[in-house]
Point group: C3
Chain length 663, copies 3
C-alpha cells in the first residue's frame, strides 16, 4: 500500500523542485499527481504549446524514483479560449452565465469545448506517451464540483432533445411515460422539450428526473472522450477523482469507463457541509468514519477493486465554514482507515500550501515557507506502516443497494424536508458498521451473488426486472431488509398504479396503505419485540398479507395499531419491510436480526467513532475520538499500534475482526 501526493511545481521556482522531490522520496511517497489546471501554462496562446516545464518536473521526480499521474487540464479552460468562444460557458437555470474566474465554467455539451478538449488531451497524451515515469491519468478534476453537473445553456437544450430522442421510441412514448396529460404538458416533438428552466410552480418530476439523467450522461460522454484518446496513446491507467456524498453525478456510470476509481476525502469538511446537525468536536477534529467509509465502500464496490484516495485531507482546509486543527495523528488515521476499507494508494492534497488564489487557507504537507507541517509527519508515519502491509480485496458479506436515480427522485419530491436520502442510507450503513460488518455499496443492477444479506434502504424507482432479481436473491436463500418509500415509482418517476412497494409488494408480502411525514423532532414510536422504539420523519401504515409477520406496530396517533415493520419468508430467505425511519437502537435490532438470519458474525456494538475493518486477513481498528481505547486481541499479532489505541490512533492486527474486542 502506498502514499502519494498532489504537486503543483508551476507554483514554485524551478530551483525548488529538486528539494521537493527529495523530501517526497524521504517521506516514502510513491506517486505524484501533476498538471491539474495547467492549461494556460501548457498552451499560453492558441496552438502554442509549452511542455518544457512539465517535462523537467517529471524528470526531477523520476530521478527520485517517484511515479507520476497526470491530469487532463480541462477543468480550467484559459481566458483566451473563453474570450474566443464564450458559448462554452455554462448557464444557470435562469440563464445567468457561469463566468471565467474560478474553475469548471465549461459546458459538457458544448461541441466547441469538446473540440478543444480533444485538442489539448491529444497534445498531452502524445507528448507523454513514451515517458515511463507517467503511469496513469486522472481525467479532468472532480466532475460536477460547485454544482456544475447540471447546465441549462442552449447547447444543453439541443443535446437534451437528442438524448430524449434516443431514449424514447417517439414523442408519444415520452408523453405516455412522463405523464404529460397532467397540467397540459404534452409535447409534439423532442425539439420542443427544453431544460427545466424557472417556472411559476415546481417543474414536472419526470422531466426533471430525465434531465438529471441526461446531465450525468453528458459527463459520462465527456469523460469517455478523454478516456478514448488516452487509451489510444499509452498503456497507463485512467482514473477520475470523485467527491464524497455527492448527489448529482452517477459515479457508477462514469466508473464503467475507468481502470481505477479514486476519490477526494476531506473528513472534517464533510461533517460540516454535507450532514445535517452540528458536528461534535471529535468530528471537527477527525470526521465521521461512517460518512467517509460509505464513499470508500462505494468506490471499492463500484468496480469491485481496490481504489485510490486521490486527495486526502492534509491538515486544516479552506472550504468548510470553520476549521479546527485536525486531532494529533488524524492524517495518519485517515490513511489507515482508507486502506482498511480497500484503498491501495492514499495521496495527500497538496504538497505545499499555495500562496496564490482561492486555496490559500488549505494546508499542504508542507507550509508555504517550505517547512514540514503536521501532515508531513503523519504522512511519513503512514507511508512506513503501510509499506509493510499488502492485503488483497475486501470481502463484504452484506450489500447495501444505492442508485443515484433514487436519490434524485426523492429530492425532486421529498414530501418531507427532513427526508435526506443519503442520511437515511447512512443510518442503515452505520448500524451495520457499528457491528463491524464490511459492506459493499452497490447498484441494484449489480450481481448479488456471494452476499448473505442485502439492505435496500430506499429502492424508490422499481420495475419488474429489479423485482425479479431481488426475488431470485431471496428465494435463493438471501436475506433482504427493505426500507421505507420503496417500490413507489416507475423508473419514469410516475406512481405505480399498484400500492407501494409496487412491483416489490408480492416479494415483501405487504402493501403500504398510508404514508405520513413529520418534523424531525416529533415524538413517534413503534413497539418491536415487546419494547418501545422511536422513529422519525416518515411513517407508513402497512397491510400485510396473511402469511406475513408483523414485526413492529405503531403506538402513536391515528397510526396506533397499524403495522410498521413486517417480515415474509420466501424460499430460503426472508424479506423484512420497514415502513419507518427507525432510530439507532431499532436499526441495531433490525440489522442484528438480519445478520443472524444470514449467518454473519455479529461483533459487540462498537463505541461511536471506533470502527473495525477486516481486509484479506488483517483487521484495522481506528479511533476517531479524542479518548484512548483498549482492545483485546484473541488471536493474531499487532502489526501496527498496541492494545491501547491513542486518541485519533490506529491498530492493525493480523487476524479476522472476530479476534478483536474493543473495550
Amino acid at each position: 500500500m502506498s502514499i502519494g501526493v498532489c504537486y503543483f511545481p508551476e507554483h514554485w521556482p524551478r530551483e525548488r523542485w529538486e528539494t521537493d522531490a527529495a523530501q517526497m522520496a524521504d517521506a516514502g511517497i510513491e506517486y505524484v499527481r501533476l498538471a491539474e489546471f495547467s492549461w494556460s501554462i501548457i498552451e499560453p496562446e492558441r496552438g502554442v504549446f509549452d511542455f518544457s516545464w512539465l517535462d523537467e518536473a517529471i524528470e526531477v521526480l523520476a530521478d527520485h524514483g517517484l511515479k507520476v499521474v497526470l491530469c487532463t487540464p480541462t477543468a480550467t479552460p484559459p481566458k483566451w479560449l473563453v474570450d474566443e468562444h464564450p458559448e462554452i460557458l455554462q448557464a444557470d437555470r435562469d440563464g445567468t452565465s457561469r463566468h471565467f474566474g474560478s474553475r469548471r465554467h465549461y459546458c459538457f455539451n458544448s461541441p466547441q469545448y469538446r473540440t478543444e478538449t480533444r485538442r489539448i488531451v491529444s497534445a498531452m497524451a502524445s507528448h507523454y506517451a513514451d515517458i515511463p515515469a507517467v503511469v496513469g491519468w486522472q481525467t479532468d478534476n472532480e466532475f460536477g464540483c460547485h454544482g456544475t453537473v447540471r447546465c441549462y445553456c442552449e447547447d444543453c437544450s439541443a443535446a437534451f432533445s437528442e438524448w430524449l430522442s434516443e431514449r424514447y421510441d417517439d414523442i408519444d412514448d415520452l408523453n405516455e411515460r412522463w405523464g404529460t396529460t397532467f397540467w397540459s404538458q404534452r409535447y409534439r416533438s423532442f425539439e420542443a422539450v427544453n431544460p427545466p428552466r424557472p417556472t411559476p410552480a415546481e417543474h414536472h418530476p419526470s422531466h426533471l428526473l430525465d434531465y438529471y439523467r441526461f446531465a450525468t450522461d453528458s459527463v459520462v460522454d465527456y469523460n469517455r472522450l478523454h478516456v478514448e484518446i488516452l487509451r489510444d496513446h499509452g498503456d497507463w491507467f485512467i482514473t477520475h477523482n470523485f467527491m464524497g456524498d455527492f448527489e448529482t453525478l452517477d459515479a457508477h456510470k462514469v466508473s464503467d469507463d475507468l481502470d481505477l476509481v479514486s476519490w477526494d476525502s476531506y473528513p472534517t469538511g464533510f461533517v460540516q457541509d454535507r450532514r445535517s446537525g452540528s458536528p461534535s468536536m471529535d468530528e471537527l477534529r477527525a470526521g465521521d468514519p461512517d460518512q467517509v467509509g460509505m464513499t470508500h465502500d462505494l468506490c471499492r464496490a463500484t468496480n469491485n477493486a481496490p481504489f485510490w484516495v486521490m486527495e486526502q485531507q492534509p491538515g486544516d482546509i479552506n472550504w468548510p465554514p470553520r476549521c479546527p486543527q485536525p486531532g494529533e495523528g488524524a492524517m495518519r488515521l485517515w490513511a489507515h482507515h482508507a486502506v482498511g476499507h480497500g484503498a491501495d494508494v492514499v495521496s495527500y492534497f497538496r504538497w505545499r500550501r499555495c500562496r496564490q488564489g482561492q486555496e490559500q487557507y488549505h494546508a499542504g504537507l508542507r507550509k508555504q515557507d517550505g517547512s514540514a507541517d503536521r501532515g508531513y509527519v503523519d504522512a511519513l508515519n503512514a507511508a512506513g506502516e503501510l509499506d509493510a502491509v499488502d492485503p488483497n480485496h475486501v470481502d463484504a458479506p452484506v450489500a447495501l443497494l444505492h442508485d443515484y436515480e433514487n436519490w434524485w427522485a426523492i429530492d425532486i419530491q421529498p414530501h418531507a424536508p427532513d427526508f435526506d436520502y443519503w442520511e437515511h442510507h447512512r443510518s442503515y450503513y452505520r448500524a451495520l458498521r457499528s457491528r463491524g460488518v464490511q459492506v459493499d455499496i452497490v447498484h441494484p443492477e449489480a450481481s448479488l451473488k456471494g452476499y448473505e444479506a442485502v439492505v435496500a434502504p430506499c429502492l424508490h424507482l422499481v420495475d419488474d426486472d429489479l423485482a425479479a432479481r431481488l426475488t431470485d436473491f431471496v428465494e435463493g436463500g438471501g436475506e433482504l431488509l427493505m426500507g421505507a418509500r420503496s417500490g413507489v415509482k416507475t423508473p419514469a418517476n410516475q406512481l405505480h398504479e399498484t400500492l407501494a412497494p409496487g412491483p416489490l409488494a408480492d416479494l415483501a408480502g405487504v402493501r403500504v396503505e398510508q404514508h405520513e411525514s413529520f418534523a424531525k423532532a416529533t415524538d413517534l414510536a413503534v413497539k418491536f419485540d415487546g419494547d418501545d422504539y422511536a422513529y422519525s420523519v416518515w411513517g407508513e401504515w402497512l397491510a400485510p398479507e396473511e402469511a406475513t409477520v408483523v414485526v413492529a406496530e405503531h403506538t402513536v396517533g391515528p397510526a396506533a395499531g397499524q403495522p410498521a415493520i413486517t417480515r415474509a419468508e420466501r424460499g430460503g430467505g426472508s424479506v423484512t419491510y420497514c415502513g419507518i425511519w427507525p432510530d439507532e437502537d431499532l436499526l441495531d435490532a433490525l440489522v442484528t436480526g438480519l445478520l443472524s438470519r444470514g449467518d454473519i458474525y455479529i461483533g459487540e456494538r462498537l463505541p461511536a467513532g471506533v470502527r473495525l475493518n477486516e481486509r484479506d486477513g488483517l483487521t484495522w481498528v481506528t479511533n476517531f475520538t479524542g479518548e484512548p481505547r483498549n482492545i483485546d486481541v484473541a488471536d493474531g499479532d499487532l502489526l501496527v499500534g498496541g492494545e491501547t489505541i491513542e486518541p485519533y490512533g490506529v491498530a492493525v492486527v493480523s487476524g479476522p475482526r472476530s479476534a478483536v474486542t474493543v473495550r
Copy 2:
C-alpha cells in the same frame, strides 16, 4: 347541501369512467368538475379541436345523474402556443421569464394571450352550450397561484401606463398624489412610468401600491373576458375558485363579475405555510377552524350569498412541507364546518390520486389503484348527512372590515417584521369566533346596514368618504372597534398631514402621538379595567380628546402612563380605538364589551379548536381537536351526532347557538 368532486377522466382509461361514475353516484356526489388544464388535449395543435373524450365523459357522468361544472383551461397554455408566442410568458421583477413546465406561465396583459383565450373559451362554450348536464363554469384556476398576479413584462409595462392614464387626470396629478418630489422621482408622462423593477433601495410606496392595484385589475379584466363569452353562450352559473389567506388578488373585485364565489380549502396545509409559528399536532391533523373560517366568511359575505368549496382537502396533500394523515373523520368535519359557515356545495379535490406529474403526493377520495381511500368514506358520510339539511343564509351581527389595499400598503411598509396584516385581523376574528358569533368579512365600502357592531382591525388607507360612512354607522347606533395603524395614509399611500387616525380622528376622539414597533417576544403591557394585559409588536401613545375615555394605559418603558386604548361616545353608538396589538385575553375583553354594547348574545368562551356556527336556525358544533367534547343542548334536536362529539367530530342541532353549551 351537496357534495362534489373534481375529476380528470383524461388521466385514466375510458374503460374506467363507468366505474368511476357509478362510485361517485353511490357516494351521494352531485357535482363533478371537469376539464381544468385540458387545453393540450382539447386542442392538440393550433385549430384542431378534439372534444370527443370530454363529450363521452360528460355523457357517462350524466347517465349517473351527475351534474357537470366545466373549467376554462387557460391556466395551462400548451407548449405549441408558448413556442409560437413566447411573449405571452410572465416575467419576474428582474426580467427572468416564467417558463413552460408547470402552470400559470401566461401574462394577464398579453394581447396575444387574450386573443388565444377568446378562441379557446368560445370554442368550449359554443360546443357545450346545449348540453344540459353542464350546469356551470369555473374560469381558469386559482388566479394568482404561485405568485403570478404580479408580472413585470413589457406588455404589463404598457398596460400599467394605460391604467395610470385612466386613473389620474394627468401626469401632474399622479406626481402630486404619489408624492414624487421625494428622491427626485417626478415623471413627465405616463409612458415613463415602469413596473417596479429592481432598485438599489426600496421602491416608492405609492408606485408599488398602484402597481398592486393594477395587477389585481388585470386579473379582473382577464376574468371578465371569460365571463362575457360564457354568458353569451348559455344559461349556466359562472364561478372562480379563490385561494385561502391569499393577499395579492382582490377577491372582492373579481367576485363582482361572478354568479357564485368558490374557493379551495386545505386546512392542514394552511397551518403550515400561511401562518407564523409552528402548528400543533391537532392543527396538523385537522387545521385551524378560524383560519379556514375567515375565508369561508369572506367568500360568503363578498356576494352576500352561499358559496362553494370548489376544492376540499381529501386526505394527505403534496404542497405543505410535511403531511401527517388527517385525523379520523376530518374530511367529513371540514364539509360540515364549511356548510355551517354558509357553503352550499363542498367539492373534494380530487377523485383519484394521480399517477403523473407534480401532484402525485396529493391524495384523492380513491387511491391510485382505484380503491377507496380514507376520504371516500368521509365524503360518503358527509353527503348523506348534508343531504338532509337545507339551511338558508347565515345571518351575522358583526362585520369585520377588510380591504386588500390595506394589506398591500402594510406589506409595502411594514415597519415591523412581525406585523402580519392578516394575522392581526385573524386575532380579532378569533376573539369573536371564540364567543360563537357569526362574522361577515366585508369591504369597508360595503353597506353596514343590519350590523350591530363593526370591527376594523386596520383601516390603514382612509379618505373622508369612508370616515363619513363610519361616522354615520356609529351615530346611527352602531358599535365600532378600530385597531392600530388606522387612518394613517391616504388612498395613494401618502401620510395624512393630520396625525393618525387622520380622517377618523374626529370620530374616534383621539390622535396618535407616537408609534413604536417591537420584536414579538418583547415584554409589553397595559392596564385595562384594573388588570394587566400583554400586547405585542405595535404600540401607540394616544392623545384623547377631553370627552374621550381612556380604557387602557401603557405600563412599560417610556410609554408608561400613555393611553393605549380609548372610547368615545358618538350619537347612539361608540368608538373604541385600540392602539396596540392586544393578546388573546385582552381581545376577549374588548370584544365582549363590544358585543355587550351591541346587544349581541355572548356565549361562554369556547375551547380552542371547538367552534359553533349558527345558520338559519341550525347550529353546528365542530371539534378540530383530538379530544372528545361534550355538549348540552338546552333546546332543539341533534340532527347529526350526539352529546359527545368525537375527536374531529361534529354535531348539528336544530336550534340557535344559544341553545348549545360546550363543556
Copy 3:
C-alpha cells in the same frame, strides 16, 4: 458648537417656509442643509433650470440668520435622464440593472453620467456662487448606500481594465502579483480582465481585492469631479456625509479631497442592522456608544480635525427592522456625545416628517402636521447647552489602526463566518473606551507621532514599508498591541511566503505555527497571568523567539500548551502579539497593561453604556442606559447636568477625565 437641520422646503407649501425658518431660529439652529435629491425640480427637463424655489427658500432662511449647506443632487438622476441614457444605470454582479425608482441608480464610471454631473454641478455652483448665506456644500449623498459602491456594468469593465493598466507595469506583472497560475487564470491583456461576475466556485481573492479598490477609487474620482467644480466657483467648504460601520467605501481616500468630514449617525438603527447578536432594550432606546463612537473617532482622526454629524437621528426611524421610541432625552444625549468625540456641528435629519415616498416612517424634529415632535425639544436643549462650550481638538494618546483594504481582504476569505473584521476592531476599541481613553482611528500609513500606544487589531495585508514604520514607532519608545491574523498577506492578497505575521515577525518576535477557527459558542480558553480567560472564533499557535515572553498559553484541545499571546521588547517600546480573539476581561487586561507601559492614565472600568470623553479640558459623561448614574467630580465645574446623570442623560465637567469618577 452648533446645531443644524436637514430641510426639504420643496416638500411643503411656500407659505409654510417662513414659519419653519422662524421655528428653526427659535430652537437655536445655525445650519440648514438643502437641495439633496432636488435634480428633477431644479432641472425638470433637459436644459430647463428652475432655481427660483431654492433661491426663495435660501432667502427666507437667511433672513432668520440661518446658514445654508447645499447638496449636489446627483444621488438621484431624474427619469428623463435615465430614459435618454439607460446606460448610466448600475448593474448587479449577475447583470441585472439597478433601475430608476429609488436612489443611487447611477454608475460612478459612466462617462455619460460624469458629463451630466458636470452640467448640473456647474449650473448650481455658478448660480449660488455669490450668495453669502451658502457657506458650504455636501457632495451627493451617502456614496455607496444600498450596496452601490460596486457596480458590474460594461462601463465599469472598461474602467477596471484601464485602472489595472495604471496600477501594474504590464500584464505579466499583474499575473505575478495576483498569482494567476492558480486554476489556470492567466491573462494576456488588461482588456481581458473583467469585473468579478458570477462563477461556479468563489472568485480569485486578488482579483476581488483589486476590484474593491477600483470601486472605491471610482467613487473618489467621481467625488473629486464635484469638488473641483465647486472649488472653481466659490470660497465655501466642501464635505460629504459618510455612513457608520460602512465597509465598501474607503472614507480615508475620499476625505483627502474634502475640507470637512461629516457622517450620518443613527444609533438605534445601527445596533439592529450592523452588529451581530440581539440589541438590548437600552440599546434599542439609545444605541451603543462605542459603535457610534468608533465612527466619530474615525471621522475626526481621518483629517485630524473636528467633524460634523450631518444627519443625526431625530426620533424613530424607518429603515431598521423595528423602532421603539428613543429614550427620553436621547436626541440631546447623541448631540453631546458627538461633541465630546470632536464634532463641531450636529445636524438633525430631518426638519419635518415627510408625507411622501420611502421615508414616511422617519421622524423629523417636527411631526407631519407641523407640531413639535420629541426631537425638537431635545434639539433645542442641546443647542442651548452646546452654544456655551467651544472646545478645540480632541487629543488622543492611543491610535487604533484600521485600513479598509484589510476589511475587504478578511471578508473575501473569512475562513470563519464569525470573524467580523469591524466587530473584532470594536472589541479592542471598547476595551480602551471602557477605561475612558480617547482613541484615534487612523490608517496604518498615518503618522504615529505623538501617540503613546498603538493598537492594531488586524493588520492583515502588510508590506515591508509598513513593517519598517511600526518598527520605528516601537523602537522609538512606542507600545504596540497587535491582534490575530496580522501580517498574513501581501497587499495583493497573496500569502506571504514567510509564516505570519510575515514582515512583522521580526518586530513581534514570533511566528504563527497554526491557526484554527471555531463557532462563536465553542468553549476555548487561555491562561494569562495565572488566571483562565475565554476566547472565541480564532486561535493561533505561536512560536516565540527565544527573547520573546509568552504572556498567555492555550489550555484546551490540541492547542493546549501552545503560546497564544507573546510580548517582545524592542528598543524603548514593546510589541504584544495576540493570536486569539480575547473576551472582554482579557482585553481589559491586555489594554490596561498597554496603557500602563505607555504611561497613559487608566481610569476605573466604566459601566456598560456609560462613557467619558475628554476634549480640550472638558469632560463629557454620557449615560446610554435607562438607569440613573452618579458621578464624583474631584476637580472642575459641572457645566451641564448634575452629579446624578438621568437615564439617557449627560454631564459636562470643566476638567480632565481623571477628575471624574462614575459610581
